[in-house]
């Protein structure tokens, strides 16, 4: 069993991968770093505290004290030159000039400034005795499932499956070709199918770790759950990994140099990085582009992953995207086998 060529070839694949620290980083570390950075940067916290300035002059202390009572504002008393500078550069959202009338200076095209004006005016008016006739209550929504990070994690998973499938297969094949290792294998009784299958098998082993790392990280740090079944996620990721392994095989089927295959790889992946809705919804692209965008394997994979992870869809509802992913894989693999350069 251990000495079966398929086992030995797969072991060789895996060893070559995990003994390459850069590869480990790009496959496991990078998506997690990216998820962490983007998850923090775009966490749902609204505009946060807004800084407003009070112009130094008669009554400035009283106005500043009133403004500080507003929950979303911090106020500072500034000289006129400094106040104008900070307003112009956006360090403060609003400049309040005490007096009668109280003057608000701000750029009305800035959302933050308009918000600051509303909040400031409210506390100023209340301080002068305005009463609120209606009773209100606030309810904040930060439900898991509707945040940016919930959208992002399935996308990163899809993108990672694409990257590791293409690089993992394409790079090793071309490296074996340039080092004449492929030719050396051809000089043994090794079966070609074993060689190709070993890529698929080692991909499946690492796939398991990749998915576990990213999904586990999302759950642990951001409480990104999987609303649908884990079996469905597993099925879709395996299908995606196989499909991109096929595409990787196709990209690598003729290339003789690492440079050539890198170029091809980027050519294949670049449109999908941009168009396939990993970081933002592809609905933002013009209608004319939509059929093309939807036909890309990464788009279909991302759609299927989000449907299961966010909406809790079942596999039976995902015929179209899974069909697209499968078709890409099968066609690439068949064509790759036809044109593969074995030496």
């Amino acid at each position: 069993m251990r000495d079966h060529p398929l086992v030995q070839l797969t072991l060789a694949r895996m060893r070559e991968f995990y003994r390459e620290p850069e590869a480990i980083f790009w496959v496991f570390g990078f998506p997690i770093v990216l998820a962490f950075a983007l998850g923090i940067a775009f966490r749902n916290r609204g505009p946060g505290e807004l800084r407003v300035a009070v112009l130094r002059g008669a009554g400035d202390g009283a106005v500043a004290a009133v403004l500080a009572r507003a929950p979303g504002l911090t106020a500072a008393v500034l000289d006129s030159g400094e106040a104008r500078l900070q307003l112009r550069t956006g360090r403060v959202a609003l400049l309040v000039v005490p007096g009668d009338p109280v003057v608000y200076r701000y750029d009305s095209t800035r959302t933050e400034s308009r918000l600051a004006r509303l909040e400031a005016d409210e506390v100023v008016q209340r301080a002068r005795g305005r009463a609120d006739p209606a009773r209100v209550a606030d309810q904040r929504v930060t439900e898991p499932g509707s945040r940016y990070i919930d959208f992002l994690i399935p996308g990163l998973l899809g993108m990672n499956l694409m990257g590791s499938g293409l690089w993992g297969v394409g790079f090793s094949v071309v490296q074996a070709r340039t080092k004449k290792l492929l030719k050396r294998f051809m000089a043994t009784p090794m079966r070609r199918s074993h060689y190709l299958l070993s890529f698929i098998l080692s991909r499946l082993v690492f796939l398991f770790l990749e998915v576990a790392a990213l999904v586990g990280f999302g759950w642990w740090v951001f409480h990104v759950g999987v609303r649908g079944s884990f079996t469905a996620v597993a099925f879709i990721t395996v299908l995606g990994a196989l499909s991109f392994a096929g595409l990787g095989m196709l990209v690598a089927s003729r290339a003789r140099t690492i440079e050539a295959v890198s170029g091809l790889m980027n050519l294949v992946m670049l449109p999908m990085w941009i168009l396939s809705g990993t970081f933002f919804s592809y609905a933002r692209f013009p209608d004319a582009l939509q059929p093309f965008v939807r036909a890309l394997p990464l788009t279909a994979l991302n759609d299927a992953l989000r449907a299961v992870m966010i909406d809790g869809s079942r596999l039976s509802e995902l015929g179209a995207p899974l069909g697209i992913v499968t078709a890409w894989g099968v066609v690439s693999f068949v064509v790759a086998l036809q044109i593969f350069r074995w030496r």
Partner: protein, 312 residues
């Protein structure tokens, strides 16, 4: 018993060069046969055609009585061959043992990993990464991967090129042990002393053709003289004797004027050298170099092509 290697009328051309131009070859059982020639002579193309890796344009090949027909037949034949290619780089990040085990898994009958590492003397490097081996050790590992299948016939393409003398001798020992166990070897090289040392018969190749074939001894004997005397003059060619004067000296069989020295192929050094010195003294020419050596296959190549082997 049919010879392990038989080929006839082999030809292969690439876009702009004829790599092999009609080549017939027979290698007998238990023989070590050397293909000798300068870079670009067509040695690799020839050996890879014989190995079934390159399809010839024309010609017949029979290896261990079988032809390269593809499919199960070809796989069965590959089980019986050991092959080392000129320019394979084994995976750097695998250990010696893992590499051998991988190659071993492709064959039905095979040596154990211990046995084959013992054959090439790499036991202590068993757990070292391939990328950390010296050139000689890498080459021995490549030979180990060729030997792991217990082959009847071993193909080695420039196994010792670029190695230091000690590594080269270690590989010669490996080849010697394989032959002692009854194996047949076809190797290519551009080191003449290697061919003289290892090979029962050699074929000298140039421009895709065999230009001489025989035992190293018989090829050297074909020069008609066993020694080579080389000399050069301190003051250049002004007082140099011409070729016919030199040829007339006693014991001299052939004269070759090179760029910086003149070489005489000589049957009897003890008569030719005093005569040469006498001639030069009468001319008032001063020697800057005088050397003699036993004729080698290198001299055979030079006499056949007019070029040095290494820089041909």
């Amino acid at each position: 018993m049919t010879p392990p290697i038989l080929c006839a009328g082999l030809a292969k051309r690439y876009a702009d060069v004829v790599a092999v131009a009609g080549l017939d070859l027979t290698v007998n059982a238990r023989e070590c046969f050397g293909l000798l020639g300068p870079n670009g002579a067509g040695k690799t193309t020839t050996i890879e055609i014989l190995e079934g890796l390159t399809a010839p344009d024309r010609g017949e090949v029979e290896i261990l009585g079988m032809a390269w027909t593809g499919g199960a037949n070809t796989r069965a034949l590959r089980e019986r061959l050991g092959i080392q290619l000129q320019d394979t780089q084994l995976a750097d990040k695998l250990t010696v043992e893992e590499t051998v085990r991988l190659f071993r898994s492709f064959y039905r009958a095979s040596h154990s990993v211990e046995e084959v590492l013992g054959l090439v003397g790499l036991e202590e490097k068993r757990t070292a990464w391939v990328g950390k081996l010296s050139g000689g050790q890498k080459q021995r590992l490549a030979v180990a991967c060729a030997l792991v299948s217990r082959p009847e016939l071993l193909f080695l393409d420039e196994p010792t090129t670029g190695l230091d003398p000690q590594s080269r001798r270690q590989l010669w020992d490996v080849i010697g042990r394989f032959r002692a166990a009854g194996g047949t070897v076809l190797l290519t090289t551009h080191y003449m002393e290697e061919a003289e040392r290892l090979c029962d018969r050699v074929a000298i190749m140039d421009h895709g053709k065999i230009i001489a074939l025989g035992t190293p001894r018989s090829l050297i004997a074909s020069l008609g003289a066993e020694h080579v005397v080389e000399f050069a003059l301190a003051d250049g060619a002004t007082r140099a004797p011409n070729a016919s004067e030199l040829a007339a000296l006693p014991g001299v069989r052939a004269v070759r004027a090179g760029l910086d020295r003149t070489a005489l192929t000589v049957a009897e050094v003890h008569r030719a050298v005093p005569a040469l010195l006498g001639l030069l003294e009468r001319r008032g020419a001063e020697l800057s170099l005088l050397a003699t050596h036993h004729a080698t296959l290198e001299d055979v190549f030079v006499s056949l092509t007019g070029r040095q082997l290494r820089d041909a």
